[in-house]
Amino acid sequence: MTARIGVVTFPGTLDDRDATRAVRLAGAEAVPLWHNDGDLKDVDAVVLPGGFSYGDYLRAGAIARFAPIMEKVVDGANGGLPVLGICNGFQVLTEVHLLPGSMIKNEHLHFICRDQTLRVENAETSWTSEYRDGEEIVIPLKNQDGQYVSDDYTLDMLEAEGRVAFRYVGWNPNGSRRDIAGITNERGNVVGLMPHPEHAVEAGFGPDSRESGRTGTDGLAFFTSAIKNLLATA
């Protein structure tokens, strides 16, 4: 069996092609999903890629939340469907309340684009099981509204339940509370993060690694994790 992973395109999505490519390189079939689709085409998992859905008008992810496809994504996620939200996709997941908190403009107000080191804080989610707890990875980060905020009660809960999935290492690039780069839901099937694993999946196109330039492929294990978990439960 080949796992089928859906990649959603909203008007203004930018990274759907890279996400599609990452899914294929990891060994799954990529299924394009359109924002206006009323069904998920029987996919086994869904990726909400980055970009500026609906121009990010109102707030990042605020309008995408009401796209017809999102109703199905929410239903699926509540039933255990693995869902990964990257950057704008993470913002959509918070707006639709699958993940708590929200993102506001970077503290320093600049758009930022850099290779970012993260620590995997929870290697038991649907999208991180091929990492080790505490493993440090380098993947690109590029955003303007990337400052993760939430009230202290929610932050304490996330910490206590091990739901902080990724933390920035070395430098907090956007002022996010408690250096949080990504979080997961209670069940571990929904993961959202600001940095971009789909841009670090093939030597020649990824971030610089210790060995040589552009050879970093630290993002690939997001997708191989999901595929392995899907095949194990199939």
């Binding site: 707030r59 605020a62 009401f66 908190g101 506001i104 403009k105 970077n106 107000l109 905020v149």
Partner: protein, 85 residues
């Protein structure tokens, strides 16, 4: 036709990077004495017919669900605009 105004502001406990940037620019242009700037949004919703309690209730609901994100923002005011002939 009547217009309903909805004002949304970042929550007081949330840093407002945009307001901070505007605040920092004011003295550069010679506008001294402004201690703090916070930047919010104003929506103008023009509705068909009269503004009844029911219409206002609907707009309040829209303000809480779409026009603002209660995690980071407050709806500070919903008012009916003065009619202009």
């Amino acid at each position: 036709m009547a217009t309903i105004l909805v004002h949304v502001m970042p929550k007081p406990e949330i840093l407002d990077p945009q307001g901070k940037a505007v605040g920092a620019a004011l003295p550069r242009l010679g506008f001294d004495g402004v201690a703090q700037v916070r930047q919010g949004k104003r929506f103008e919703l023009t509705v068909d017919g009269e503004v009844t309690d029911e219409v206002l209730a609907k707009v309040r609901q829209a303000a809480e669900t779409l026009l603002s994100n209660p995690v980071i923002e407050d709806v500070v005011e919903v008012t009916v605009a003065e009619e202009t002939a």
